[in-house]
C-alpha cells in the first residue's frame, strides 16, 4: 500500500515540476515577445496568449499541489477566468489601438530589429 502512495506522490511531484517548468517557459516567451516584437498588434499575440498558457499551466500546478480541497475549486475558477478574460482584454486593447489609428507593422517596413540581412 505504502508503495502505491509514494508512487502517487512521486508522480504528482513530477507533474507539478513539469507544469511549473512549462509555465515559466511560456511566460518567458511572452516576456521576450513583448520586449522584442515591433508593434502593439504583434505584442498582443504573445503578451496575452502565450502568457495565458503560462499562467494556466502554473495555476494547474497549484491546483495539483493543493489536492482535493475547497481551495482547488478556487484555483480552477481562477484558471477559467484567466482563459475567458485574457483574450477578451487582448481583443479590446488591439481594437482600441486600431481605432485610435495605430497601423500594423509590415514585413517590408524599415527598422527591422534582428532581421537576417
Amino acid at each position: 500500500m505504502t508503495d502505491i502512495v509514494t508512487l502517487l506522490t512521486d508522480v504528482q511531484f513530477m507533474a507539478i515540476v513539469i507544469l511549473l517548468a512549462f509555465g515559466l517557459f511560456f511566460t518567458l516567451v511572452s516576456t521576450v515577445g513583448v520586449l522584442r516584437l515591433p508593434d502593439i498588434f504583434a505584442r498582443a499575440h504573445t503578451a496575452s496568449q502565450t502568457d495565458t498558457l503560462g499562467a494556466g499551466l502554473a495555476l494547474a500546478a497549484v491546483a495539483l499541489a493543493l489536492g482535493w480541497q475547497n481551495a482547488t475549486a478556487y484555483t480552477v475558477l481562477l484558471l477559467f477566468f484567466v482563459f475567458i478574460t485574457n483574450p477578451t482584454a487582448a481583443h479590446a486593447i488591439a481594437r482600441s489601438a486600431a481605432e485610435s489609428g495605430v497601423t500594423p507593422w509590415e514585413k517590408d517596413d524599415d527598422n527591422t530589429e534582428g532581421d537576417d540581412q
Binding site: G33, D39, F41, A42, Q49, T88, A90, T103, W105
Partner: protein, 343 residues
C-alpha cells in the same frame, strides 16, 4: 399609382445598409415606381480645411448607397437622387436637421422619411429621439427602419422569463457555493437568498437569447468536448510561436486578414473570436457582424485560420454535428489579406 417618393438621410453607421434595404422594400410595397432621395447632412463643423474630406466621405457614402438602391430594387424602375445637405447652412442640432430635411422634402414633394435607428450625423451624441420629435414638429412623416443591430448595439434588456431566472439562479448559486462551503448550512441558506435576489433582478440582462431547455445543456456538453480540442490547438500554436520568437532572426510576417465567419452573432461569434485570439499567431482585432478582422503573425497561423478548423468546431458546439462540415473559408472565398489602412 404614382411613384413613391422617399427621403433617406444617411450617416456612416453599421445599420445604414439595412436601412436602405428596408426603405426600398417598403416603398415598393404599394407602388411600382420609386423615386429615392439619398441625402447626407454635414454638421456645422464641416467647413474649414477638414470640410473637404468630410464632403468627400459623404459623396462616397452616397455613391455606395445609390448602388445598394439599384441592387435592392431589382428590375423595378427607380430613380435615385443624391444630395449633400448643410454645406450652406450651419446645422447645429436636431431642429436644424429636421428643418433642412423638411425644406428638401418640400422642394421635391417627398412624403416620407425613412430613418436609420443609428442615425448619427457628425460627432454628437445619438440624436434619433430628438430628431423624431422635431420631425413631427415640422409635420414630416417618418418611419424608423427595423434593423438588426450587431452585438455592440444590441439592447441590453431582454425579456424576463422563467427559464432565464431558473438558469441564472443555479449559475449564481453554484458560484456562491464554490466560493463558500457547500456543506455549511449558513452558506446554503444565504446563497439561496442571494441567488434568488440576483435571478429576480438581473435575469433580463443576463442572456441575450433565452436558454433553450434541450439545446442549452446539449451545447454545454459539446462545449466540454470542444475544450480539450481547443487546448490542444493552443499548445500546438504556442509551441510554433515560441520557436519563432526565441529564434534570434525572429522570422515574423505580420499581416491583417479579413475572414467572413459563418456563425451566428452573439455567443457563437464570441466563442469563435475568443478562440481565434487564444490561439497565438492569430488575434481578432475587429468583429463587425460576421466579418472578423484578424491580425496574423506567422504564415502557418494564417493557413490554419483560413482552413477554418476552429470555425467548424464552434459550429459543432452550437449547431451540432451536421452543420460542422462546411467548406473552409478559403474555398468559400471568404478570406482576404488587407492593407493596414483598410481597418
Amino acid at each position: 399609382m404614382a411613384a413613391n417618393k422617399i427621403l433617406v438621410p444617411l450617416s456612416d453607421t453599421v445599420t445604414v445598409r439595412q436601412t436602405v434595404g428596408y426603405a426600398v422594400q417598403s416603398a415598393l410595397e404599394d407602388a411600382d415606381e420609386l423615386e429615392c432621395h439619398l441625402v447626407v447632412a454635414i454638421p456645422h463643423d464641416g467647413d474649414g480645411p477638414a470640410g473637404e474630406s468630410i464632403i468627400g466621405e459623404a459623396e462616397q457614402l452616397l455613391e455606395r448607397a445609390a448602388s445598394w438602391v439599384h441592387e435592392d430594387a431589382g428590375s423595378v424602375s427607380v430613380s435615385v437622387h443624391t444630395a449633400v445637405l448643410g454645406t450652406k447652412e450651419y446645422l447645429f442640432g436636431p431642429r436644424e436637421y429636421a428643418e433642412e430635411f423638411a425644406t428638401y422634402a418640400g422642394e421635391y414633394g417627398i412624403d416620407c422619411v425613412v430613418l436609420d435607428p443609428e442615425y448619427q450625423p457628425g460627432v454628437t451624441a445619438p440624436m434619433l429621439q430628438p430628431l423624431e420629435r422635431e420631425l413631427s414638429n415640422v409635420g414630416l412623416e417618418y418611419d424608423e427602419a427595423p434593423v438588426e443591430r450587431p452585438a455592440k448595439h444590441e439592447r441590453l434588456v431582454g425579456q424576463a422569463s422563467f427559464d432565464r431566472m431558473f438558469a441564472l439562479f443555479w449559475v449564481s448559486y453554484g458560484f456562491y457555493l464554490i466560493l463558500g462551503d457547500p456543506t455549511y448550512w449558513f452558506d446554503l441558506v444565504t446563497g439561496a437568498a442571494v441567488a434568488g435576489i440576483v435571478s429576480l433582478t438581473l435575469s433580463n440582462i443576463t442572456f441575450t437569447v433565452a436558454p433553450d431547455r434541450i439545446k442549452s445543456p446539449l451545447r454545454t456538453l459539446r462545449f466540454g468536448l470542444y475544450v480539450p480540442y481547443l487546448i490542444f490547438e493552443i499548445v500546438k500554436a504556442n509551441l510554433a510561436i515560441s520557436v519563432v520568437i526565441l529564434r534570434p532572426s525572429m522570422p515574423i510576417d505580420p499581416s491583417l486578414t479579413r475572414v467572413n465567419a459563418r456563425v451566428r452573432s452573439g455567443l457563437p461569434l464570441l466563442a469563435l473570436a475568443n478562440s481565434i485570439t487564444l490561439t497565438p499567431g492569430t488575434l481578432a482585432v475587429r468583429a463587425n457582424d460576421q466579418r472578423l478582422i484578424v491580425h496574423t503573425l506567422i504564415p502557418s497561423a494564417r493557413e490554419d485560420l483560413f482552413d477554418g478548423s476552429l470555425e467548424r468546431a464552434v459550429r459543432f458546439v452550437f449547431h451540432g454535428r451536421d452543420s460542422a462540415s462546411i467548406a473552409t473559408p478559403k474555398e468559400r472565398g471568404d478570406t482576404e489579406i488587407i492593407e493596414g489602412e483598410d481597418l
